[in-house]
Amino acid sequence: MAQTKKIVILGHFGVGKTSLIRRYVDSAFSEDYLVTVGVHVKKKEIDLHDEKVTLVIWDVEGNTAIEKARKSYLLGSHGFLYVFDVSRQETYEQLAEEKAYLAANYSNIPFCVIGNKKDLLIDDAHRAFFDSENFKDCYFTSAKTGEDVEEVFLELTKAMVR
């Protein structure tokens, strides 16, 4: 029988949370920005080590801090994805605090941090900035091209079923 794991995607508005889910679940992408109000729930079944895992992904509305997210949405989570936008500084300038918040309040729940829109990293200086120590545990994805989207969900799934 498949295990069911609940993943909640967090981060500021406009960082591409919905786009990441659409890319991952529906293999689709749209340039149009459509704000998420409340929560949309999607699911995808994957095989991990010959075992079926059902990922139920909660796409919650963007917030400037995790603390502001509705607590009931986070209830019963097995994993978190925290998404920021590599092209907007305000979406990653509190990254250390956000990671500390998750570690302190959801210590048993694995999470991955994603720098999305990596297709917009076009110059060497910008790329070098994200090579620094502050971002060493981050994954960098592009919902637009699909680059590394599957990988980050797979990594989180591995951590959740461990």
Binding site: T4, F13, V35, V37, V41, V56, W58, L75, G76
Partner: protein
């Protein structure tokens, strides 16, 4: 006071009450929004409920509230508030269909956040232009002080040299140097001026 039938049905049509046993099997449902068969499993109805299964089938009696949840069941999409009351032997689930309210909210939120993103993009663009202008100013100053000025000094020196007693060969050489320096000086000034034009 007695409500009229119209008043009664306004909210009645927007609220659905579902009772299930702890396995999630529907015992009864008012079927106001979605039609559910008796015995159907709520945890298979929608991923929202599926992901709550562990939470609802273990632990103590409690009451949970989830505002603004998009539910798409049987080609019907509603945006609702969901309240789940867990009792010892059953789950009571209330769906409040607030689609109209949330759709208005969605339109307003979309407009607001799009405007915010546009404003941030505009601010970034202004900042970028400001930095480019500063950088350009720096380059212009460097061109003026370190290159154009020095070329002018060399030109003055070559002019002084021309007035001295030079051999024919030396004169040709100095004239060549003067021509090259004049050309470099003109090009450096062109670059400086083009930087000025780009930012004015």
């Amino acid at each position: 006071m007695i409500m009229t039938n119209d008043q009664n049905s306004f909210f009645a049509n927007k609220v659905q009450e579902i009772h299930t046993n702890l396995l999630g099997e529907v015992i009864q449902s008012s079927d106001t929004i979605f039609e559910l068969e008796k015995g159907a499993n709520i945890f298979e109805l929608h991923p929202f409920f599926e992901s709550m299964q562990q939470e609802l089938t273990s632990g103590h009696d409690n009451s949970l509230a989830f505002p603004c949840v998009q539910l798409d069941i049987d080609d019907r999409v509603i945006i609702c508030d969901i309240t789940i009351k867990k009792q010892r032997e059953f789950l009571a689930i209330l769906l409040f269909d607030y689609s109209t309210h949330y759709e208005h909210l969605h339109a307003a939120a979309h407009e607001k956040k799009t405007a915010l993103l546009n404003e941030q993009a505009h601010d970034l663009s202004l900042k970028h232009n400001e930095e480019r202008k500063e950088y350009s100013e720096l380059v212009r100053e460097s061109l003026k002080n370190k290159i154009i000025g020095q070329l002018e000094d060399v030109l003055l020196d070559t002019q002084k040299l021309c007035k001295t007693d030079l051999s024919k060969e030396q004169q040709i050489l100095v004239t060549d140097i003067e021509r090259t320096i004049t050309d470099l000086h003109r090009k450096a000034k062109q670059i400086r001026d083009s930087l000025e034009i780009n930012f004015n």
